[in-house]
């Protein structure tokens, strides 16, 4: 508990230093291209009051969550299959390499061209961008599954449900956590591109608008707001889940 408090304090301090550095830098820059934190804060307040910021933020957040969940579930299933069954691995490996190396922009454009400028295409394109990374990570985890526990499950004739949720998934937990961590940030960056190219709301759409108006302060306001949202999710959702999942590990420090 005490350690958590010191951690929070040091995080806060480091944020304060960042804001201070920004403020000082803004004094020397041109305010139109490099706005001061106070200017940005004023815009954030105004945008919240008008309801625009919450509206676009939640639109983006919904897309992030949908694409993230889709990629993580599908990626875990496929990665597990590839890690456990050699035939599946051989069959899908080339696809995986292609998908890994296909630029996000190409997938997004193709999705819009083929499926139209709609929500399904947008979320699908983002999920497809994240999918191969999840598969690669989970596949490594599936390859490292404990054969002894597998035999125990077999000897006691555990149902597939128990095997999956009690034996296999807990072993994959660190790998799932790793891809969730890197995934959330990757997904939100791609969601912005999707919104910029083919959606009429969301942070990406707004950024495009402000770019055309050359409104750098608003770009700052939206970008920072979303980073804060993501940070909150990281601190209030992801970290507590991870802590709970790791309860059984013996602390050596």
């Amino acid at each position: 508990m005490k350690r958590t408090r010191t951690n929070t304090a040091s995080t806060l301090l480091s944020v304060l230093v960042l804001v201070a550095v920004w403020q000082v830098a803004a004094l020397f820059g041109e305010s139109r291209v490099f706005p001061a934190p106070s200017t940005v804060a004023a815009i954030v307040a105004a945008e919240i009051a008008s309801g625009d910021l919450p509206y676009h933020l939640s639109a983006t957040l919904m897309r992030v969550l949908a694409a993230f969940t889709l990629a993580l579930t599908l990626g875990t299933a496929i990665g597990l299959a590839m890690g456990r069954i050699r035939a599946v691995d051989r069959a899908l490996d080339v696809w995986l390499v292609v998908l890994l190396n296909l630029p996000a922009l190409v997938i997004i454009i193709l999705a819009y061209v083929w499926f139209g400028l709609n929500e399904t295409a947008a979320i699908g394109a983002v999920a497809l961008n994240k999918l191969p990374n999840v598969i690669v990570t989970i596949r490594e985890g599936a390859r490292a599954l404990d054969a002894d526990l597998d035999q125990m499950a077999k000897a006691f004739r555990l149902s597939w449900r128990k095997r999956l949720f009690d034996v296999v998934l807990p072993q994959l937990q660190p790998y799932v956590a790793a891809s969730a961590r890197s995934g959330l940030s990757l997904v939100w960056k791609i969601v912005l591109v999707v919104e910029l190219l083919g959606r009429s709301n969301g942070v990406g759409f707004q950024l495009n608008l402000f770019f055309q108006l050359f409104d750098v302060a608003s770009i700052f306001a939206y970008a920072i707001s979303f980073v804060v949202v993501m940070l909150t999710i990281e601190l209030l959702v992801l970290q507590p889940i991870e802590l709970r999942a790791n309860r059984w590990r013996v602390r050596t420090t």
Partner: protein, 238 residues
């Protein structure tokens, strides 16, 4: 509840490290009456563990037959406890049960695990973890109980206590029990029958019936029986 057990392995081969085939077992015939306690003894690598694995249907690549009702419940106590580290002691035991809601108080009390129910396996000593592993095997009310060297790497006091515990629960639940060990004294102390296996390719050399009641098997008895067996089967029993 307990089922008679029969195993006939005509042939079991392994893929050797250099690519050739290694014949591990040839014509091994095992028979254990319902509710009996049999010890399998033999030099290491003689197919003791293989026999258990085949009985539990963990290994199906062999020629031969398993004489066991397909619905027979098999409780397996592995050499290492093989508990799920991310589940508590109680969750580990309940995992293998079908209903899940059963009362485990009596079982935990019998094995001295009442205070350990909410601990995680990483917090337990090897001796305690083995007890949990035995509790898990008993929780399914097994018709057949398979024990793969359950007392190795324990200090003698703990091992002795665990042996008594196994004897107690065997008497109470009477599963047909097959115990693999390389410790002759342990087998003499616990088993009703000792099955002696020859080295690779493994087969049964002798079956020794021990009908002395367990209470009368003191150190003198164990030592005398061992000396007798060493004389009769030199090279196989140490």
């Amino acid at each position: 509840m307990s089922a008679p057990l029969e195993l006939h392995i005509k042939k079991k081969t392994y893929q050797g490290a250099e690519g050739g085939e290694v014949e591990a077992v040839r014509d091994l015939h095992l028979l254990a009456p319902a509710g009996s306690l049999t010890a399998l003894i033999g030099p290491s690598g003689c197919g003791k563990t293989t026999s258990l694995r085949i009985l539990a249907r963990l290994d199906t690549r062999f020629e031969g037959t398993i004489g066991l009702p397909p619905a027979a419940r098999i409780g397996f106590v592995f050499q290492e406890p093989r508990l799920l580290p991310w589940r508590t002691v109680e969750q580990n035991v309940r995992l293998v049960m079908e209903g899940g809601g059963a009362d485990l108080d009596a079982l935990f009390a019998e094995l001295g695990l009442e205070d350990m129910r909410n601990r995680f396996p990483t917090e337990l000593s090897l001796g305690l973890a083995r007890r949990v592993s035995i509790a898990r095997a008993l929780a399914i009310e097994p018709d057949v109980l398979l024990l793969d060297e359950p007392f190795t790497s324990l200090d003698e006091t703990t091992a002795q206590r665990l042996r008594q515990l196994v004897l107690t629960v065997w008497r109470r639940y009477q599963p047909t029990t097959l115990m693999v060990t390389h410790n002759v004294r342990e087998a003499i102390q616990l088993a009703e029958r000792i099955v002696l296996l020859a080295p690779r390719p493994s087969h049964v050399v002798a079956e020794i019936v021990l009908d002395t009641p367990h209470e009368q098997r003191d150190e003198v008895f164990v030592e005398a029986t061992r000396t007798d067996l060493v004389g009769r089967y030199p090279g196989l029993i140490a």
